[in-house]
């Protein structure tokens, strides 16, 4: 059983690097903007289905991925605009958008799932060898994730990024200090869901197919990854906050793989992951006792 887990380590690692985009996409609204967003559940499959549709229609992989990112960005700003202009709770707005995206995905692909031949993908465009060897995939994905992490850290340290962090840190202060909080929140949601959609577009090219149900449960997985990552790396600095979801994603998917290879039933996973998220979020309140609870209220 353990041998099966060890054999799966590389393939799980490759997968977890792709899913780290989702964990990053959850971190941005949840931590930076202090405004939780569920749109990921829709923007991730939207990116995948869009990419699959345009790749099989003959578009080059780079434009396809740019289109996927644009689709995710649009989904994110839709949620933010619904939340701000219709005064609908951000979580509900995200569920609405994610639900509507499901229909969009079916329209875009014209069928519930679509296979994408390797020669159409970005992997093959770089080198046909890559999809044949798991370690070359890992190297490429790690380089991409590294680039995104460095880019995001540089962004958070820029003037615009600092203003974005201020919106989440003190909602009353930001307009008084000249920050258009609505605009920043909207762009922040767009950015996050563009990242999630990029993850979807990459996973479709790596596994060779897109499926409208590919986003199901992705949010709780990403949240679990984020929480694990923050427990390991912390979030005291910008660097740590941006790296935490990546490390968390890598650790989380290895844990899942370990669980599965030691006899855990795949259909029990969502219950267990959900319970894990609940416990990690709830435990600090329970152990600190009533004082902490009343202070939080």
């Amino acid at each position: 059983m353990i041998q099966a887990f060890i054999n799966l380590i590389p393939i799980t690692l490759a997968q977890s690097l792709i899913y780290s985009f989702v964990a990053l996409a959850i971190m941005v609204p949840f931590r930076t903007l202090s405004l939780p967003d569920l749109t990921t559940e829709g923007s991730f499959p939207l990116g995948g289905c869009l990419a699959a549709a345009v790749l099989t229609a003959g578009l080059d992989p780079w434009s396809s991925m740019a289109l996927a990112i644009a689709g995710g960005f649009l989904a994110g700003i839709s949620t933010a605009l619904i939340h701000q202009y219709f005064k609908i709770n951000s979580l509900l707005a995200g569920i609405l958008v994610a639900t509507m995206i499901w229909s969009v995905n079916l329209r875009v692909m014209g069928m519930p799932n679509k296979s994408v031949r390797p020669e159409l993908t970005a992997f093959d465009a770089i080198s046909p060898e890559i999809l044949l060897g798991i370690w070359s995939q890992i190297a490429l994905l790690a380089a991409l994730v590294g680039l995104v992490v460095l880019g995001l850290i540089a962004f958070y340290k820029s003037e615009v990024g600092l203003a974005l962090r201020c919106v989440g840190a003190n909602a009353r202060l930001s307009p008084a200090i000249g920050i258009n909080a609505r605009l920043y929140t909207t762009v922040g949601f767009g950015l996050a869901n563009g990242l999630a959609a990029l993850g979807g577009a990459i996973v479709v090219q790596q596994q060779g197919y897109a499926d409208v149900t590919m986003g199901f449960g992705i949010l709780v997985n990403g949240l679990a990854a984020l929480i694990i990552g923050e427990a390991i790396i912390g979030r005291s600095t910008i660097q740590r906050q941006v790296i935490a979801p990546i490390v968390g994603s890598i650790v989380y998917y290895q844990l899942i793989s370990l669980g599965l290879s030691t006899g855990l039933h795949p259909s029990d996973l969502k219950l267990l992951t959900g319970a894990f998220v609940l416990i990690t979020l709830g435990l600090p309140l329970l152990t600190k006792g009533r004082a902490a609870v009343s202070a939080g209220a």
Binding site: E159, L162, A169, R172, P175, A176, I177, G178
Partner: protein
């Protein structure tokens, strides 16, 4: 010069809880004037500050700041002209950001924001200078998160943030009220030194009559959304807190008698 003409603001209009907060208010404040606004609870002092700062838009009337019509300008746009220190020390700074990051946000209030590094050595020096004036040692704590500072330190920091780039109008909303008496005196003195030094046009809401008398060059008394007394600097000199309270009462009684 700040000019407000015919300002009206009603909350919950048309409902049972309708509240007329500002009822036709006209005001001119000369450049460099330090105006203290006093009055009872619900007199409309904070609403007036919110209207001037752009947190609310007036139902009627017009606001000009140095001949620029800002009446419909939203708060974040108006922040290039108006700076504000809030009553609650928690509101004026971003707790999870460092002192340096908070000061950078204040700098960008007038300079705008671009995709370039926010924290630079040159800015750090500038912040050290600006913070050393406060004599709280904040210039040595640039990398401390604002949330780890005491209430008085945070309020001093938000004062430094508000005055870093001299605003056309500085709004102080009972900014010493949430502090203990000693800290309150300290922050008030720091305020006066910054306002005098920068020759800032300032409007300060306060419940502390002594502060109003000692520091302001003009005292405005508000009641029921209107200005009911306007005391100039020549008159302030001879007044005591007792006089002010007495006069406040008289005005109040007159209001009662006339209606």
């Amino acid at each position: 010069m700040i000019v407000a003409t015919g300002l009206h603001k009603v909350f919950n209009a048309g409902t049972a809880s309708e509240k007329i907060a500002i009822a036709g208010l006209d005001l001119k404040v000369d450049t460099g004037q330090f105006v203290a606004i006093i009055g009872g609870n619900g007199a409309g002092k904070s609403t007036l500050l919110n209207l001037l700062g752009g947190a609310f838009l007036p139902d009627r009337g017009r606001i000009d700041i140095d001949a620029v019509d800002v009446t419909q300008m939203r708060e974040h746009a108006r922040a290039a002209l108006v700076a504000r220190v809030f009553q609650d020390p928690m509101v004026g700074t971003a707790p999870t950001l460092t002192v340096q990051e908070n000061m950078t946000l204040a700098l960008m209030r007038s300079e705008g924001r671009r995709l370039r590094p926010a924290l630079t050595a040159a800015r750090r020096e500038r912040f050290k200078q600006a913070l050393s004036v406060l004599r709280l040692g904040l210039e040595n704590r640039l990398d401390t998160r604002a949330g780890e500072l005491s209430g008085g330190q945070r309020q001093a920091l938000s004062l430094a943030m508000a005055t870093l780039c001299p605003p056309k109008l500085l709004l102080l909303d009972e900014h010493t009220a949430a502090l203990d008496p000693r800290t309150s005196e300290y922050v008030m003195e720091a305020t006066v030194s910054m306002v005098t030094h920068g020759k800032l046009t300032t409007m300060m809401v306060t419940h502390n009559m002594q502060h109003a008398l000692s520091y302001a060059s003009r005292i405005i008394m508000m009641d029921a959304g209107r200005i009911v007394a306007d005391i100039g600097s020549d008159e302030i000199g001879g007044l005591t807190v007792g006089d002010l309270v007495a006069r406040f009462r008289i005005k109040d009684d007159r209001m009662v008698l006339s209606t």
